[in-house]
């Protein structure tokens, strides 16, 4: 909250606010960039001194700090644990996710978008025009959208991990109840690879469907916010306080287009991998059912075909 107040204070100092509303500690909130749409907050918001100070800068953590960091590395550690219970296609999907999406995002894409706001130049000296136009044309940056997409797309895999943990817990209790409290047996439960059958199969397939839904939703969102997936070189902006219509130039549009298309292509590849995995699981389950149903020659043929894949 304090940083939002600090930004609001900066914004307000550039607009013409009626003197009567300005007091020693009062301020106006202007969500739309016109002074007529400013309003004073309720009286109870006479905030104490501390909240009006700018927030202290974030200090980097000292080395050897026991608190775990939340960054892509710890995310990688969490998600790669799911690897063991995935199918072969699932592991390929995970590698593609880490290498072609997260790694490329961290080492390349973030530096391309690093100066997106400082490099956004408008052909005017009017203060505030740059910020307003940038905010109008880039409601959310590509980098943040991709980070959200990667997090949301990876989390259904945790459903599977939770289910496996639950099953292990149940197995442990059964072992304990049946009297086999040998620590080696309990260790064996931990290291055993779960077969994807029964309820776990349904959890896995649902998690795959969620992944596909999230990917497609984000691709659609991208298309809605940035039509055509192409980064424009020039935007014409006439929001207040820009005088008339002003030309604003985006920094590195070609490089941004290249990376947008690349991330889109890899996203498409991931969707295909997920769909292939769903088809594979459904096919495997069908062949298992046919095998269990009896010695039908059709079932044996399908089973033989799937084994040879």
């Amino acid at each position: 909250m304090p940083h939002l107040l600090a930004e609001t204070m900066d914004f307000v100092s550039e607009t013409r606010c009626p003197r009567s509303l300005m007091g020693p500690r009062s301020f106006l909130l202007c969500y739309d960039a016109t002074p007529k749409k400013c309003f004073s907050p309720p009286r109870s918001a006479n905030l104490p001194e501390e909240l009006l100070q700018p927030p202290p800068p974030l200090t980097p953590k000292e080395p050897g700090d026991p608190e775990p960091k939340m960054n892509w590395a710890s995310f990688y550690a969490v998600i790669s644990g799911v690897n063991r219970h995935s199918t072969g296609i699932g592991r390929i999907w995970l590698s593609v996710l880490f290498i072609f999406r997260i790694l490329v995002l961290v080492v390349a894409a973030e530096s391309v978008w690093g100066d997106e706001k400082s490099g956004f130049t408008c052909n005017t000296q009017q203060p505030g025009c740059n910020s307003v136009c940038y905010d109008h044309f880039f409601p959310i940056s590509h980098i943040r959208l991709w980070a959200l997409q990667l997090i949301l797309v990876s989390t259904p895999a945790l459903l599977v991990a939770m289910h496996v943990a639950h099953r292990r817990h149940v197995d442990k209790r059964i072992y304990k109840l049946s009297g086999r409290t040998n620590p080696k047996d309990l260790e064996q439960i931990k290291s055993q690879k779960m077969k994807i059958t029964g309820a776990l199969w349904w959890t896995y397939v649902i998690s795959l469907l969620f992944r596909v839904i999230f990917e497609v939703t984000f691709m659609y969102l991208f298309y809605m916010i940035y039509p055509g997936y192409k980064m424009i070189r020039l935007v014409k902006c006439d929001s207040y306080p820009c005088p008339n219509t002003v030309d604003c130039f985006v920094s590195r549009p070609t490089e941004k287009t290249v990376f947008t298309v690349f991330m889109l292509a890899v996203s498409g590849v991931c969707i295909l991998l997920n769909i292939a995995e769903v088809v594979f699981l459904v096919g495997k389950a069908c062949s298992k059912h046919l095998h269990d149903a009896g010695d039908s020659s059709m079932g044996a043929w399908i089973q033989q075909k799937l084994r040879s894949l």
């Binding site: 390929i92 290498i99 072609f100 080492v107 130049t121 030309d247 604003c248 985006v250 549009p253 490089e255």
Partner: protein, 227 residues
């Protein structure tokens, strides 16, 4: 997820590589990734902020920069390194798949005979994990394909760099007349000599890697023929 994590993934596959493959991995990480991370990124760090054009016209610098640098060298090299390192994972995926199949067979056979004690079985499984597979059969084809893919990506990216920047030399001055620049405008690139040096260095190490890959291909093919 960054370069050290990628290194950790690739080092596992190193065990099943030929000696040339091991040399290639070291060259890749020492002379390319390391140099990129500690040196090249700082050289290109101010590429846009210090790209100065002889005009006060707002937007001219952005547009001229975008015209002459559609894709920055650093990003091209990052993508090149990611793509070149990825085929090695094919080999580790194949080895993991083979190990899984062999482990299943081992467990089944021990289950059938029933005489292997659990300790023996654990030792066998450990030996399975730690063994080095000979490069024959399907592993040979996977390995060959991965080396060919690496070579192809290297050549492709080198060609792309050459075509986009018309050689490996960074000019000091570019002349730009894109709208909204009025008439023809001189634009100056920051640190052109240093950038040329690093471009030539990265091109050289890329060629060394290409030569290593070519040699590895030849070695694999002659070994197969000799067999």
């Amino acid at each position: 997820m960054s370069w050290p994590a990628l290194y950790a993934q690739l080092v596992g596959a190193n065990r099943h590589s030929t000696s040339l493959g091991k040399i290639w991995l070291s060259v890749l990480f020492l002379f390319r990734v390391m140099v990129l991370m500690v040196a090249a990124e700082t050289v290109w760090g101010d590429e846009q902020s210090d790209f100065v054009c002889n005009t006060l016209q707002p937007g001219c610098e952005n547009v001229c920069y975008d015209q002459f640098f559609p894709m920055s060298h650093i990003r091209l090299w990052c993508l090149q390194l990611v793509f070149v390192a990825a085929p090695t994972l094919l080999v580790s995926m194949y080895v993991a798949y083979r190990n899984q199949g062999d482990r299943k067979k081992l467990l089944q056979s021990s289950g059938r005979t029933g005489f292997l004690s659990s300790k023996n079985q654990e030792e066998e499984l450990e030996a399975l994990k730690r063994r080095r597979l000979p490069i024959t059969g399907p592993l040979w084809w996977t390995y060959l394909f991965s080396v060919a893919a690496k070579l192809l990506f290297e050549v492709g990216f080198m060609y792309a760099l050459y075509v986009v920047y018309d050689g490996f030399r960074m000019p000091r001055l570019v002349q730009c007349d894109q709208w909204p620049c009025p008439n023809l405008v001189d634009c100056f690139i920051s640190r052109p000599t240093e950038k040329t040096i690093f471009t030539v260095f990265m091109a050289t190490t890329s060629s060394i890697c290409m030569v290593l890959n070519g040699a590895e291909l030849a070695y694999l093919v002659t070994k197969a023929i000799a067999r």
